[in-house]
């Protein structure tokens, strides 16, 4: 290898490292902030005596912000939204992958338009509606509105997985003497299981990360971590270490799940438009 080439290689690596410093430093800084004791918050930057007090305060609900409950809420509504979308979306995805018909094309297009619709178009009327129906600040209300996020994702991605599966497998099962239902459950479903797992996790992450729905449609009982973390910034004197701790706690589940589904991310992120 020539010196020139090696030099260019180093330069490329250096550029890459530079980007990743930009990408990772904020996360590292949050960790640092969250471990700072309150009295060293503004007096030092990188040298301090680390403490878990910030986390204790946040998870101990002691600032008047029931963060643990928000965390549980996030878990419940995200999980509920994903499950509902799976139950409702899988049959639709399967039907539209196997049979081209007008109803399914319209449904698919409507769902895709949800992906790009400004959320507030739906939320403001829902805000009015929920007040009337008593769904404001409830799990049911949140799970309903989160379908806007999870259902299009699950239906579109699963349709692309089902479409990749040759229908001849299920046809073979029919000729083997199985009913259509059995062909679906015994043949098609097991084969798209990795896809289901990946898309469920991705949908869970997106539901978890959602902010605008809980901001407007919950106030306390069903509020989630994204809104909860922001409330640490409120007040006259923002508590940086607590905010950082809350932010970190709230990003742990999506980050862990994301690392699990790396391989499947491309299809999920692009709504099935790009397969890897």
């Amino acid at each position: 290898m020539t010196l020139r080439k090696r030099l260019l290689g180093w330069l490329a690596d250096a550029a890459l490292i530079l980007y990743f410093v930009f990408a990772l430093f904020p996360i590292a800084w949050m960790l640092i902030l969250s471990l700072k004791p309150a009295n060293q918050l503004f007096s030092t930057y990188f040298s301090f005596s680390p403490t878990l007090d910030g986390y204790r305060t946040v998870l101990g609900d002691s600032e008047g912000i029931p963060f643990v409950r928000f965390f549980v809420n996030s878990l419940v509504v995200s999980l509920g939204a994903v499950l509902l979308s799976l139950v409702v979306g899988l049959p639709a995805a399967y039907a539209s992958a196997r049979w081209r018909f007008k109803g399914s094309e319209n449904l698919m297009f409507t769902l895709l338009s949800f992906r790009f619709a400004p959320e507030l178009t739906v939320i403001i009327p829902l805000f009015v509606l929920y007040e009337k129906l008593g769904l404001f600040d409830t799990y049911v209300g949140m799970i309903w509105v989160l379908q806007l996020v999870t259902l299009p994702l699950i239906v579109w991605i699963m349709r692309s997985y089902f479409a990749d599966l040759t229908p001849e497998l299920e046809q073979a099962a029919l000729l083997d003497g199985y009913s259509r239902k059995q062909a679906f459950f015994k043949v098609a479903l097991p084969l798209v299981k990795p896809g289901i797992a990946a898309v469920s996790l991705l949908a869970f992450i997106f539901a978890w990360n959602n902010f605008v729905f809980p901001l407007i449609l919950t106030s306390n009982e069903a509020q989630t971590v994204t809104v909860g973390a922001l409330s640490f910034l409120g007040g006259d004197r923002p508590k940086y270490n607590l905010t950082a701790a809350a932010a970190l706690v709230s990003v742990v589940p999506p980050l862990l799940l994301a690392l699990l589904i790396q391989r499947y991310l491309v299809r999920g992120l692009s709504f099935g438009a790009v397969k890897s």
């Binding site: 001849e168 497998l169 046809q171 073979a172 000729l175 083997d176 199985y178």
Partner: protein, 377 residues
Amino acid sequence: MIGLRGVRKTYGKVTALDDLELDVREGEFFCLLGPSGAGKTTTLKTVAGLELPDSGTVEIDGKDMRGVEPYDRGVAMCFESYALYPHRSVYDNLASPLRSPRYRVPPERARERIGEVAELLGISGLLDRPISQLSNGQRQRTALGRVLVRPARAFLLDEPLSHLDAKLRQQMRAELKAIGAVRRTTTLYVTHDSVEALALGDRIGVIRDGRIVQTGTREEIWYQPYDTEVARAFGRPRINLLPGTVTGGGFRSVDGKVELPLPAGAALPAQTNPPAQPSPPARVKEGTDVLVGIRPRDLALRGPGHELTGTVYVSEVLGRSVEVTVRLGEQHVSLVAPRADAAGLRPDDPVRVTVRPESLLLFEADRPQCPGRRITP
């Protein structure tokens, strides 16, 4: 036993089956031969009930199959794509029909049956393997095994030997018809390989553009092909087709270098008006553009018959015989001769070729999109 009456199937603007008529008799081994895209697979799937015809009816055992689900039709199908369950082992794939609600048998009986079939197909050693670890040939045999493992009213086999290597294919071709289950069961066998069709088919149906062009025994298809396309489909090397016209004395090629006597009784198709006098021997109007078909094995380097002279263009040894391409005027014809007869032939050597007039096939000239129909014999 299996009957398709005026079956039509379209996918959008593409017509897959175009008023297809087909009759497969009880117990027979019927080969459906055609190029890819001719509608072979669609025909099988229509019989199986996996595709529903736009119009026309499918009958099995004389019963209209409209509204009958695939699992109630009692047919077994071997898919060209194998359609094996990739998440299961070979054994589980073979066991799939025997565990289904329709064809369930006790596990011991299933084990026995799977053993027999695996033995028959030479895949006994693979039973525990997952499908992903099989070669294409092994997959194909597994797919065939899944068909044979249980009794069926009919077997529908879609190119079941196409992915085997040459040697195994030949062996399996010989063995397939000897398999007891196949002998006893009506079989509709789809292939694009005319050798396979000739070797296996009790009867052969030639399919093209979604229609059955000709149905018949191998002799009928060989000696009385419906048109030039069917004639071209069977036999390697391919049939020689010389373009020319009908003259007073018989046939003359376009370049005028080849003259052949036409067999007696060469007749016009019924719809054209017959000429008054019986001569030329064929009742084809003089001056009609025609194609004369000569099978390479009907041309000889020695022996009785009409003689033609030409020069050797190229020769290629095929084991005990030799394929010689001879230049006759501006045409090339190939012939297959015993090696002894062709010994010492070099390119550009003058050569005499003989042909017996009764082996000649006379066709109408090809037109675009419409191969010439046979006139005689």
